[in-house]
């Protein structure tokens, strides 16, 4: 597969992720959207490394992104669980209007 097709797939993944983050009302669904977004970024980093003739640098950056992405998911899920326990909902719109 040539790089242009891969970049097309990356752009599609980024588009799907951005749409999910914009449209989702469930806090956990927003995290799913972020995960899709970051998967596109990871593939883009590897493709960029190959285009630049330094695939190892792209792989190293992708590894850092994997770790950061996992931590974002963990912290986001912890936040979602605690928000659900405290406020009883995961709806972003309801959460933005609730007062303690």
């Amino acid at each position: 597969m040539d790089i242009s097709s891969l970049l097309l797939a990356v752009i599609c993944l980024l588009g799907i992720g951005i749409y999910a983050v914009l449209v989702a009302r469930n806090l956990i669904k927003v995290i799913v959207g972020l995960q899709v977004l970051v998967k596109g970024a990871m593939l883009a980093l590897i493709a960029a490394g190959q285009i630049a003739g330094q695939p190892e640098v792209g792989e190293s950056l992708a590894l850092t992104v994997i770790v950061a992405d996992t931590i974002v998911a963990v912290v986001g899920l912890a936040l979602a669980v605690q928000v659900r326990r405290r406020f009883g909902t995961l709806d972003i719109k309801a959460l933005s209007t609730l007062r303690r």
């Binding site: 970049l7 797939a9 799913v32 950056l61 963990v74 659900r84 909902t89």
Partner: protein
């Protein structure tokens, strides 16, 4: 070539299903499928080390955490209208995609530079050592995050939680 096109098509289908599924558990499973296909694509692109880590962490650990968190938080009906209207979100995504494609047009014309090859371990452990330190800090943050998922609510905050649940129900009724 044909296999890679199949993998990319499967990846896009998994990603779309992950955001379209009504049930959170199904979303997590579709996301795991997308992670596995990303790992396969990385392997075919010549990055086996990163592919293994993506497969074990992205498709394994993250999915387990998602299922765990969904079991604790529970499913919730989210059939209400989104905060950002769908047509506006689609226009915004279209603009983003066009801009990304336009920026990538320049990249496609470039010739692949031939630079002295490096080893992955040399780049990771010597050239990008700061990234490794950052990853260590992030992993400790992740441990705190896991503790946050498993933490039980403090007795004094239970009353607030009950009040919050009541308010959440009221908000749902108002919608």
């Amino acid at each position: 070539m044909f296999v890679q096109i199949l993998i990319v098509a499967g990846l896009l289908v998994c990603a779309v299903q992950a955001i379209r599924s009504k049930r959170l558990l199904l979303s997590a499973l579709w996301l795991a499928g997308a992670s596995a296909l990303v790992a396969l694509e990385m392997y075919l692109l010549g990055a086996p080390e990163v592919a293994v880590i993506e497969l074990s962490v992205g498709a394994g650990l993250v999915t387990v955490l998602f299922v765990f968190a969904i079991n604790i938080a529970g499913e919730e009906d989210m059939s209400a209208l989104p905060v950002v209207p769908r047509p506006m979100a689609r226009i915004f995504v279209l603009i983003s995609v066009v801009l990304l494609a336009w920026m990538n047009l320049e990249v496609l014309g470039l010739q692949v530079a031939v630079i002295e090859p490096l080893y992955f371990k040399t780049v990771l452990w010597q050239n990008r050592l700061l990234d490794v330190y950052l990853q260590m800090v992030l992993i400790f943050t992740g441990v705190l995050g896991v503790l946050g998922i498993m933490a039980e609510p403090h007795p004094s905050s239970r009353r607030t939680a009950e009040h919050g649940q009541h308010a959440g129900l009221e908000a749902k009724e108002q919608r």
